[in-house]
Symmetry: C2
Subunit: 185 residues, 2 copies
């Protein structure tokens, strides 16, 4: 198995520019476990408040389970995904009675997204879509997630049938400034 | 100026492994604006819920202002920083009355941290530390941040006097599983 999988090297800044949200159909190309593991290892290496590592991952690649999770999430992109990474957090406070789980989650998901892009796959960050209609809870039950943990993000993965591009960003001067907010410096 | 600055190419996975939290003293080496801009551009390219781009950045490199911000944050690592990137978000709801600002912030900060590592600088994600004792509010006033925006993260930047390493992570099998949470598959 190891010999059949090539690991690409991609410049960080290239990966950051290449990453985009894909909501279309996937090709019938599998995503090997070696790649899924490397992708999730990138998420594990993300920083977390007080190094408490409250974010965890269930990697779905069993075809029957994939179908059930796709039904629970009910988004077209899920139905042809060859794998899904489900991101979960522990909402407990870690510092001065504060939780940083959503920030830790964002950092971990971004590492995962960059790794997916670097290895030549496509995905989309599904988040708000699973907060409605009990979807996250249904996914959690399918994957045996304990009730004190929160299912937060689903990332359907595969090779895009029709790849896209990163959406436009506001210009630098509308989101970043030197020394004073909104300055023209 | 352009000629005096070299832009490194670093493999994504190398940057993810190299990134760590530095809380020590910085060398008296400046961080040129070209690098600061490239670092913040990486943050701008991070995904955001509904592409609403609610995260913005003030880059502090004015020596007098750096000193005042360091005093407001009151963390030793800030006093010798050659620049700071202050990350701000707009807490307004963007989808079904929900805000995803903390997740968007985490993704943007992670891109910024990876870019800092790739360009050979060191930093630490200061977050909980500025939520106490009115510190974030004081930083916001120094930088002219409007009261409807939230100052959330300060990243002091420079070249480490004594570089460190990423802290240990829990093993893969304690944070990630195939198909079922906690499975031994």
């Amino acid at each position: 198995m190891l010999n059949s999988v090539s690991i690409t090297i991609m410049d960080l800044f290239e990966a950051i520019e290449k990453r985009y949200s894909y909501r279309g159909e996937f090709k019938p190309v599998p995503v090997p476990r070696e790649h899924l593991t490397k992708i999730v290892e990138a998420g594990i290496r993300a920083p977390s408040a007080c190094n408490q590592q409250v974010v965890s991952f269930v990697i779905v690649d069993d075809p029957n389970l994939l179908e059930k999770v796709a039904e629970a999430v009910d988004r077209p992109v899920c139905y042809t995904a060859k794998a899904m990474i489900v991101c979960i957090y522990d909402p407990r406070p870690v510092y001065h009675d504060m939780s940083f789980a959503h920030e830790d989650l964002g950092a971990a998901v971004e590492n995962v997204l960059l790794a997916i892009a670097a290895l030549g796959y496509d995905t989309v960050w599904l988040d708000g879509a699973i907060r409605v209609e009990d979807r996250a809870q249904r996914v959690g039950r399918l994957l045996g997630v304990p009730p004190d943990k929160t299912v937060a993000v689903v990332l359907p993965i595969g090779v895009a049938l029709e790849p896209g591009k990163q959406r436009e960003r506001l210009p630098f001067g509308e989101r970043a400034w030197f020394n004073q907010y909104g300055s023209m410096e």
